[in-house]
Symmetry: C2
Subunit: 321 residues, 2 copies
DNA sequence: GTGAAAGCGCTAACAT
DNA sequence: ATGTTAGCGCTTTCAC
């Protein structure tokens, strides 16, 4: 690959001039500009962004850390981020942390060495201290990780309330909640939302954000409590698990059992029956997070630390009766 | 952040020595090594990999180009790649091409400028010439892109045969095929596999790898051809579309209509009914592709150009009768 | 065994 | 308006 030096030589000018035309700054005569541009084309020159990064101490690269891209919620998030970033000249490094603090530490270290300009993190296990030490901008997506770090999420508790209320509204008498993992901020919040509405009539079991475990737990739950006629699942995948349990027990959805999920991933409308859900503006949340991160990278101050997005209740077959 | 110079100063040695310690090459006295290591710890020094890349002309970064991470097949692929790479000291840049040749060209250009050490590509739209010009190793995943580029995939035609034969084996009399997009190598191959088995009794409709379109097309198909009792869908998502169509028309799966998909994405066992499918070893394919890419980057020669992986037929509820 | 110094490709003073 | 040059942080010859 040819370098700026080659171009300079070819055009009969100095490297500084070439640099000027590339970066469109400083004065350069129309004629010399032409000469340089021709040389660039002739040599098929492309600036070496590593060299540029070394000097400018910026890499036009950001890292995104998610628990596991294989979990259907995250591709939609990552896609929003990547879309926004590439349009703005940034490139996206993908990291799967498996919610493992060691892996997160490793990624943080690597990202630092590679001079990423900023980080977008989805995590609840991440070491706050490490995050604090990271001397470049960070934003948190979907879940907060530190009170000083801008966070882009919905009000999960309110979402939990809304989901539960919906089940009541359609006439459910006994609404159970299949809760996501303990200690995950979001699943706790959704759970609280459920409690807010259900008072003293609660019936909760844990499903760990996992389809099979949820199906298993739900089967037992429904066997012990045949009076349950509505389930609010901690997320859409879990709601699918509940639907499977119902199918297994030959319980009709939605008439004998209404089900509502949470997140609004694409998957929720692919299944039969289609799932009612609390739909997050996933794409918008992620592009906004990316936009804010870039602002921070550019040294701008951003308006707030807490970006709360509106969610919507989507009623589909699983609660339509 | 402290530099190698700071460490050298702190340890009272030259930068060359520090470099030797970091890279564990060249001779260095046990005592000086200790001094240097202490200085590194004291200053919390981390080598700047940008500077290293500039000199070594390698970035320990690779790019992966997929059509759309939001399509459930790709996260599993990307995860396999990322897992293998991070374990081997590489970092992964994610690119969503949307099967758009212009976007692909853009990504190729950016990757080149960023000195990525290699590329993993899933595409059928990519410009072969551009790929040829890319002067670093490339491997193709899931679909071939050029005869000189190592390809990691299964035998899709044979898979198509197997799927179709399976429907016949369980007693289907009239098997239709919902075909993936034209001009996509894989969907054509699967289609051919179907034809191989079905001779002259074919019934094919195009579904574009899209759930809703597939559901719509299937509804029409089934209305015109109520004799159809088995469907081989071009992939798992399309199979879901077929299942929805059946649900809509109140046709019982699998007894009145058996359905088989293709790919074996996680999703295929999340639904009710669970989908039979031709399961690709997605994770293994992708880690092998990553492994081969690294070999190429290291200048090794790899054994072959065509890596064909075995698939397996997974029979689940949708064809169990 | 260790250090001095050149150079990777680029940008940005500073000259002219 | 253009050129010269130092320097970004690192690795690696080449001396000693």
């Amino acid at each position: 690959m040819s370098t700026i030096k080659d171009v300079a030589q070819e055009a009969g000018v100095s490297v500084a001039t070439v640099s000027r035309v590339i970066n469109q700054n400083g004065y350069v005569n129309e004629d010399t500009r032409k000469k340089v541009e021709n040389a660039i084309i002739k040599l098929n020159y492309q600036p070496n962004s590593i060299a540029r990064s070394l000097y400018k101490k910026e890499s036009k690269t950001i890292g995104i850390i998610v628990p596991d891209i294989t979990n259907p919620f995250f591709p939609e998030l990552v896609r929003g981020v990547e879309d926004y970033l590439i349009r703005n000249g940034f490139t996206t490094i993908l990291c799967n942390s498996d919610e493992d603090a060691d892996k997160e530490r490793l990624y943080l270290e690597v990202m630092k060495q590679k001079y990423v300009d900023g980080l977008i993190i989805v995590s609840n296990t991440i070491n706050e201290q490490l995050v604090q030490q990271f001397d470049r901008p960070i934003v948190a997506l979907d879940r907060s990780i530190h009170k000083n770090i801008p966070t882009f999420a919905i009000d999960n508790r309110e979402g939990g309330r809304r989901a539960t209320q919906h089940l009541l509204d359609i006439g459910c008498q006994k609404v159970a909640h299949i809760k996501g993992p303990d200690q995950i901020e979001n699943s706790e919040a959704r759970y609280k939302g459920y409690l807010d509405v259900i008072n003293n009539n609660e019936l909760v079991v844990s499903g760990h954000y996992d389809l099979k475990k949820t199906a298993q737990a739900t089967i037992e739950l429904l066997q012990h409590h045949p009076e349950i006629d509505g389930v609010f699942a901690g997320n859409d995948i879990m709601a699918l698990g509940v639907a499977k349990a119902a199918d297994y027990l030959n319980i009709k959805v939605p008439n004998e059992l209404a089900i509502i999920g949470f997140d609004g991933i694409n998957l929720s409308e692919m299944t039969s029956p289609e799932l009612s859900t609390i739909s997050q503006p996933i794409y918008e949340m992620s592009t906004e997070a990316a936009r804010a991160l870039i602002s921070l990278i550019e040294g701008k101050v951003i308006e707030k630390i807490d970006y709360e997005f509106p969610f919507t209740l989507i009623q589909r077959q699983s609660t339509k009766r």
